[in-house]
Amino acid sequence: MRTFRLAGALVGAALLAGCAGTGELADDPYAVNDPLEDVNRAIFELNLAVDDYLLVPAAKAYRTVVPELGREAVQNFFANLRTPITLVNDVLQGETERAGHTFTRLWLNTTFGLGGLLDVATYFGVPPAHTEDFGQTFAVWGVEDGPYLMLPLLGPANLRDAAGIAAGFFADPFNIWMGSIDMDWVPYARGVAEAVDTRSRNIETFQTLRETSIDYYATIRSLYQQRRSADIRNEDSSSPSGNPISAGRPATE
């Protein structure tokens, strides 16, 4: 009897969920969870404006002024600065082998690599760098991703990743150190500098993507969600054969 009532409740809930969805599309396995789409789109426009008028010009200037070798050092420096957070999250996800690689990478590059400017770890044969963050750890722990969010200035996220971004900001040893010596502005400057550095390497790619997209917002949303899923499954370029990709993707309805 109790089982029946439970089954009835489940069917009722499923029906309600069906009604709450977009009718016919609710059973689409590729439907996106974006209830705040209108707000998100408005913020996306704002971010694009900031990108067009501030970030891209800064990235282009940076590319013109600083030679390739210097930009590589900057990229290495920021990557090394992110490594402690990767290490913490490797450990939190129980990835001991990857944690070991991350730890080796961190001390080699911080010491012999002159504070991270040189990637001597790769030279010494340490496996290529990977990144982990709290959003990925939460996912590994079973936290659902929640609604898609377009964050002002920070870009695409979902509820889980937004919490992860905040956790990463406050748990970062470098940021904590700066806070402790009354240099609270440094973590923000770091964020801006990192954005310029990253953007300087993908200007053309995103420019073309934007021009050839029919709905750029939807394209970015799709790319972000798929990329995050792959990151959570630890499918990086360092694993050439790739891990199994979630099944059921071939060309069927």
């Binding site: 590729y30 050839t212 029919i214 939807a218 499954r233 370029s237 050439p240």
Partner: protein, 193 residues
Amino acid sequence: MALLRLLLVFVLAAAPAAAAPDPAGFVSELGDKTLEIINKRPPKEERDRRFRAVLHEGFDMQALSRFVLGPHWRTATEQQRSEFVKLFEDWIVSAYGERFSNYSGEQFKVTGQRPESESVTLVTSQIVRPSGGPPIRVDWRVAKAANGFRISDVVVEGISLMVTQRQEFASVIQRNGGQLEALLKVLRERTGQ
């Protein structure tokens, strides 16, 4: 004996010109052809023509169209379906031709293959960039077809191009009152028809 020879000729003639022995070989050939187009940088018209030929050789546009439209394929009329298949192909040729034009000097190598289901094989490959940096991982879902193989999806660094396309198109349709016609209209405009 003569009959046997005749039969043999028939069988050989029926086989596709470039019959690849296995999915990996099939992808390798297609990848090389695509890269050749990208690296030679022919004028747009020729690029599009050659790119379209590769598309016909490697992809089943009908099946891909059905996938990217998802639930909207079921409700589409026969006329809408056939127009979409055509527009989708034209659009892929121009949009992806453009997206590829940022690349030059890349090298492509197939790194392995493994069965994913009874009819689908996952072929893994890498694109090595001339600028150095980590190689780009590209996985290909290859399905057996009547004559040879057909690609059902291309997955770049974990991002499925077909899923991306499906979600973008779904968004366009959804934001226009669920009308497939709205998507067809944009595609017509984008492909100059």
